[in-house]
């Protein structure tokens, strides 16, 4: 299972944060966030204070998973883009490198065309970052802070 391990380091996190910060501005978006395919929130930017990003992350991943399941049945490789149109807000969902999901929430201050354009550029940048992150994680000797945890550490977690 180690090959699937998702790890986030400070260096890559900062690079990713720069991309999402820029995307919020460039796309006139309300919120941008990145989720891995298992529903873990990786980064967020914009007006996130009043937003339940954990729940949104999990539902986004569920959404992508369901759409991926549909694609498989239709013998499509993937439906990489989704768009949900609301009365006030819209959501653009883009699968990046078949590994992470880029979500942009925007309102009438922006447009689908602009969002698509900016997402395309951001996806390319994110793809590069995640590729190098993946290589780093797979390098032998990549350390983990959990090799040294003791049974006692684990037990302590459950002392109410």
């Amino acid at each position: 299972m180690a090959k699937d391990q998702m790890v986030m380091y400070e260096e890559e996190f900062n690079q990713i944060q720069l991309v999402v910060d820029k995307l919020v501005k460039d796309a006139n978006a309300k919120v941008v966030f990145i989720v891995d395919k298992n529903g873990q929130l990786i980064a967020a930017a914009g007006d996130v204070d009043n937003l339940d990003t954990t729940s949104l992350a999990s539902l986004t991943a569920g959404n992508i998973a369901a759409t991926g399941g549909m694609a498989k049945l239709l013998r499509e490789e993937e439906f990489a883009t989704q768009f949900h149109e609301g009365s006030k807000q819209n959501v653009h969902i883009q699968l990046v490198g078949n590994r992470v999901i880029l979500v942009v929430i925007f309102d009438s201050r922006s447009s689908l065309g602009l969002v698509r354009l900016r997402v395309k550029k951001a996806s390319e940048e994110l793809n590069k970052i995640f590729e190098s992150l993946l290589k780093k994680v797979q390098e032998p000797g990549a350390d983990t802070p959990f090799g040294e945890i003791t049974d006692e550490d684990i037990d302590n977690l459950f002392n109410d």
Partner: protein, 196 residues
Amino acid sequence: MSFINYMAREINCKIVYYGPGLCGKTTNLQYIYERTNPSAKGKLISLATETERTLFFDFLPLSLGEIRGFKARFQLYTVPGQVFYDASRKLILKGVDGVVYVADSQIERAEANIESLENLKTNLNEQGYSLEKLPFVIQYNKRDLPNVADVAELRELLNPTGVPEFEAVARTGVGVFETLKAVAKLVLTELKKGGG
């Protein structure tokens, strides 16, 4: 697939509650949600039908405290138990770190229990996992009902390899946290063994 975030000093793990329809998977999550300190939990999300049967999944994020300076966060998911939702069940198993199998102890559900456990194994294999290698615990639920099978019988049917097992009444909370703690411990132990 756990997610170690060095930046946020967090470790995220995914636990899936599996079992036949109406065995009490959602009830487990509801009890955990009700009895957990608000600061340690997020929203309980249920994607259910109008008759409150799980349609896609339930989701509950939990924070268990710190381990070696990292926040230990667990994301609990249930699958829809009804047989015809198999495509959805497969999706939810993606990236799983630990499994709780909830069995319905009632005698007449024996066949449904076996079928669901076999389905779990098949679906895990399809994703390249095997149940033997995953952190895995079993809960015998609904022990308060009059028509339940003996635990010894259930064990023979469902737990031949002797993974940790718990008797439960999820409705009133009996055995619910014991089950959760056991699987969480196994997940963390696995993380330690696997070196991440």
